[in-house]
């Protein structure tokens, strides 16, 4: 596609790409054929673009008495994230609180964020597991996107929303939209909004959970959970990480890798004590973090309703059901 090629000529392009049938990730595109905008959402969330699963923080090398440290903070080329869905984009604003907050900023994250133009894409076929509308989101939410694409079938309607977006005004692959196209886009948007039928009751869940810390409900929640961590790795708002050094004689690097609070090792202390010794404490912590602690710290629920945890949990956990049960006090 010439448009994609033109983007790649000027930027590093990140977009959804299929790794195998039915399995997609957001990755740096090397060839335009890789881009696949037809999938509803990639398995791995778009947060990877700003917060990679495995990231080198710096490299070091010792040569005799000298040592050299090479920073990896700089972003050499501007980037474009194409085809991210509104749920993933909303998640960026949540993770911003952690990595680009007022007091603490993470250079690696912030540099990537600043250098990236986000071309969001509306969901014309939300899945039955999507519940973004219940969490201040929606299949066509524009917030967080610099440009916004709406699939009209034969073409895309592009909305230029921010200053970064306006830089594309004179792009040779764009032409002015006509009335028909704009109304067609409105139709697509209207239909999609209707499709999200699930209204998941999150109102007041923070206060509910305040009272449930020692509830026997958590014994039941953790029963079928395998502690397998798939939910945390595919969640657009999860952001835990582990920093380690990989060293080989005189050189090495410091790496940041995704980690998960569902691992027993995650909270293990050097003394051997583990404040979250069993699956019960860990599953409780996950739900509390998303629906109680994060709202306490940042006034936002750390969930965007993308549904990945429900779709990919091997034990078929359904977060929508869990939320409902919590709102009912945890009894059944």
């Amino acid at each position: 596609m010439p448009f994609l090629q033109s983007l790649m000529d000027e930027y590093d392009l990140f977009a959804p790409a299929q790794l195998a049938e039915g399995v997609s990730v957001y990755k740096k595109i090397d060839q335009t054929e890789e881009v696949d905008l037809s999938i509803s959402n990639a398995q791995k969330p778009a947060k990877e673009i700003f917060f990679p699963q495995s990231e080198t923080m710096f490299r070091y090398e010792k040569a005799g008495k000298e040592s050299r440290i090479t920073s990896t903070e700089e972003i050499k080329r501007n980037r474009i994230l194409l085809g991210a869905r509104p749920c993933d984009i909303q998640a960026f604003s949540l993770i911003d609180h952690v990595f680009a907050g007022k007091e603490y900023t993470d250079t690696y994250y912030v540099n990537k964020r600043k250098a990236t133009t986000i071309i969001g894409m509306g969901c014309d076929h939300p899945l039955s597991t999507c519940f973004c509308s219940s969490l201040n989101g929606g299949p066509f939410q524009r917030e967080g996107s610099d440009l916004f694409l709406i699939d009209l079938g034969e073409s895309y309607l592009v909305e230029l929303l921010t200053e970064k977006g306006m830089a594309f005004q004179k792009n040779k692959f764009f032409e002015e939209a006509n009335e028909k196209e704009i109304s067609l886009a409105k139709g697509v948007e209207g239909k999609a909004a209707e499709k999200i039928k699930a209204a998941i009751p999150v109102e007041g869940i923070e206060k509910r959970l305040d009272q449930m810390m020692e509830s026997p409900y958590w014994d039941r929640v953790q029963e079928k959970c395998l502690g397998c961590r798939v939910c945390t790795y595919l969640c657009p708002t999860c952001h835990c990480f582990d920093i380690m050094d990989e060293a080989r004689t005189n050189k090495g690097r410091r790496v940041r890798n995704w980690d998960s609070c569902l691992s027993s090792l995650y909270s293990q202390e050097t003394s051997g004590h583990n404040p979250r010794p069993t699956n019960r404490e860990r599953t409780r912590q996950r739900l509390m973090h998303k629906f109680n602690y994060f709202p306490k710290n940042f006034d936002r629920i750390a969930c965007v309703g993308c549904g990945r945890c429900t779709l990919y949990c091997p034990a078929h956990f359904d977060i929508r059901q869990t939320i409902k049960e919590i709102q009912e006090g945890g009894d059944k």
């Binding site: 495995s54 080198t56 080989r248 690097r253």
Partner: protein, 145 residues
């Protein structure tokens, strides 16, 4: 790690030798002044049964071009049965690596007794030649990111 061009490349081979037989055999080769290729680096272990098959993978990951595991002949193990168990681990890991497409000859096994200084040098000679023919190990090596 590759040193120089292909023609001057010398493989690095890790040899796990059991203390009571193979290591003593290697020692005998030394005291007898028998020449053998200097490509091997020896790690002495109490028994060939101590070898964790993960050692092989770890060695390949670190850029070692070949692995030799050597123990006492069956029936002669200092711990009576260690080499038998080691034999089972060896055969299963060897087959598995072969199945995955790891070049045959990268990982080799031998029985060398304390009296077999000559045999040890022959084994090392053979293994070194085999690895030289295969070239540097590339499949498993952990590359710099």
């Amino acid at each position: 790690m590759v040193n120089g061009t292909k023609s001057s490349w010398e493989p690095r081979i890790l040899a796990f030798l059991c203390n009571w037989c193979s290591y003593a055999g290697a020692d005998l080769a030394g005291t007898s002044r028998i020449q053998y290729p200097p490509n091997i680096r020896v790690i002495r272990v109490p028994c060939s049964g101590r070898i964790n098959p993960l050692f092989i993978l770890k060695a390949l990951q670190n850029g070692i071009d070949g692995v030799l595991i050597s123990g006492c002949h069956p029936g002669d193990c200092h711990y009576l049965t260690g080499n038998y168990v080691g034999r089972r681990k060896s055969v299963t890991m060897r087959r598995f690596l072969q199945y995955l497409g790891v070049e045959e000859g990268r990982v080799q096994f031998s029985w060398v007794s304390a009296a077999e200084g000559t045999k040890f040098s022959q084994v090392v000679e053979e293994v070194t030649q085999d690895i030289k023919k295969l070239g540097p190990a590339k499949q498993f090596v952990k590359l710099e990111d």
